[in-house]
């Protein structure tokens, strides 16, 4: 069984990077979401230690930072894999068989949607719609879109990536 990766970064691990991010901001409440986005870009998730720093910087309660972080689907509280696979569950993809593509990915990676493989290589997610409906069913690996997916193409797409690395 695959276990989810854990949040292990400490205050010392994040302090320098957070200062760097804060230096680009004025410390206003409205900057919370952009700061969280930049933090996640830096660490590939939101370490608890970083969220505490953000709370100090913006002078808002930790609960507020946590509340916003858990409200938006984009934010993750545990480390993400090096490659993020997003399977579109939009309407057009749904009627054209996105479910089968997702099931095949879950099978091949050995994880369920929302989980990360143990070796931190892949995170599998579903996304409401990536707006490439004409290419349904679609999935993305990082910023690369793969359209007109089939169960057969899953292995192709995954295989492709492992060769690149």
């Amino acid at each position: 069984m695959v276990t989810l990766a854990k949040d292990t970064l400490t205050k010392d691990d994040v302090a320098d990077k957070m200062q760097e991010i804060f230096s680009q901001h004025a410390g206003e409440r409205q900057e919370l979401i952009p700061i969280l986005q930049e933090t996640q870009q830096q660490f590939r998730y939101l370490p608890a230690a970083a969220m505490k720093e953000i709370s100090h910087f913006l002078r808002v309660p930790e609960s507020t930072v946590y509340g916003v972080s858990t409200f938006y689907a984009q934010f993750k509280l545990t480390p993400l894999g090096r490659r993020i696979i997003r399977v579109c569950r939009g309407t057009a993809c749904h009627v054209r068989g996105a479910g089968k593509v997702l099931a095949e990915l879950e099978k091949q990676l050995g994880i369920k949607a929302g989980e990360t493989t143990e070796d931190l290589e892949y995170t599998l997610e579903t996304v409401a719609c990536i707006g490439a409906c004409a290419l349904a069913p679609t999935m993305t690996i990082d910023n690369e879109t793969h359209g007109k997916m089939t169960v057969k193409k899953v292995a192709e797409v995954l295989g492709d990536r492992s060769k690149v690395q």
Partner: protein
Amino acid sequence: MTEAKSSSSGQRTVFVCQGTGCVSSKSIEITEALAKAVADEGLSNIKIDFTGCHGFCEQGPIAIVEPDDIFYAHVTVNDVPEIVTSHLRDGKPVERLFYKDPVTGEAIPNHRDIKFYSMQQRIILRNCGRINPERIEDYIATGGYESLKKCLKEMKPEEVIDVIKSSGLRGRGGAGFPTGQKWEFLRNARGEPKYMICNADEGDPGAFMDRSTMEGDPHTVIEGMTIAAYATGCSEGYIYIRAEYPLAVKRVRLALKQAEQKGFTGDRILGTDFSFNIHVKEGAGAFVCGEETALMASIEGKRGMPRARPPFPATSGLWGKPSNINNVKSLATVPVIIAKGADWYAATGTEKSNGTCVFALTGKIANSGLIEVPMGIKLSKIIFEIGGGIPGGKKFKAVQTGGPSGGCLPEDYLDQSVDYESLTAAGSMMGSGGMVVMDEETCMVDVARYFLSFTQAESCGKCVPCRIGTKQMLDILERICAGEGQPEDIDLLQRLGEQIKKGSLCQLGQTAPNPVLTTLRYFKDEYIAHIEEKRCPAAVCTKLITYYILPDKCQGCGICLRACPAQCIAGDKRMVHVIDQEKCVKCGTCLDVCPERFGAVVKVSGETIDVPAEPVPVKEKPKAAAA
């Protein structure tokens, strides 16, 4: 583009589409390969350029050669040498890359002759696929920013509002509130500063027109927004874009920088006293943020939860200041109305719904893509003429409009006029313009379950009827799809749906039951089949379907046996294969891989087929019978 057209010396420009769809099928590499091949060939009169989305994503990657108006579909890097030598050097277009009409199979060389395009009327998407979205000069060459100049130099803000009011422009985000009236509220509101917000948080699954507009023609959004700010007296603006649209974010940011350099936004625009600064905010993945009060909360850095209205944003919006929120498409229309006049715009469409509407036509349809059509067009015209009908000879079942808030309309409504009022009367809505076509292989109960699982997951949790009610409805639907539905479920769904509509604060909750209520209204027989006969008529719901290998058709080739992920197929060479129904996971792999000439695997619901319990030898067929 204009220089290519006016030239007679064999000047040609190849426009390669670089919208998200085509980029995902390697159009950037194609552009580079074309540029290199043209340079290698020494063709100095050929220009290689790129545009935003052409809308016909199904045929991507797309390249159009101007001024010949030759449309190439499904271009690959391997096709580049032939395009360059045959067409660009020798003047002979490459026929095999022409678009083929899905109905007649005829190859159509010219862009303007393709039905998908010829029946459209493009106002909002006028420049998409026609200009390079990363060059402000291209936008200016089409008359861009002239409307802004006209407003600032010749018109009073009130006059601008009057023009928009008399054009009849209504909010393209879905609700259809008159835009001019909204602007007037803000103009008359007291408080400083005032904020102009562009809602580009296109979250409806099945809709991608806002993204394509921003990717293909970002300047029209900026121009429209700046005109709106001038008319209403705003000094600050926000464009709220989904983070899931990285290319749109990039192009809008670039366009903003260019517009500022040219003095079209920013301080003292075009040398006047009017200043307007636009900021880009990226959403963080919450569907509810498309709702205006939730969107404003999100800009403020809070959880995107809607609040009660009134007060309306015009009196108390962003940070409690007067604000206005318009959809990308509404703002993109504004410069055209200013340039061509209110009467020109009002001449298109129906009595109450003026102008055009953009739909993302997807699902079981031959020509998927983005279309812009006059309001009042019939659904059948969109689906069967522009859309080219249902592929694979399948039968039309329903069309879903309005995204998760909309409804599914059956065949009887194909003659329905498409406008705000008619769609609402039919139980659906215009919404943001998703249009998903469904054929006989789509299960309507499954579709309702799908939409509800979406809205249920996206419910922000503020209102109990939405948060808990949608969960209850979803549980019932899942039960029905699993063949465990109870006869009273139908009434219960109906009652719950009506209560959620009444008891929720925002549009998300008020419309969440729509897909269920419309499928109950138009496809009740499918619900009854699931509940009473434990049968899924479209053979979609996995718990209700069975796969069989027909003994008289199976040739014992073993392909399905090897492909089966559950290893539940027994058989041997020249033996009829048999599925162990206990172990079968109903993935359908066997059906997919069984060679077409055998067609031995079938999927059924609500019936049993007599097959042997163990593999038996394949019956030899007399050779003559086959011929």
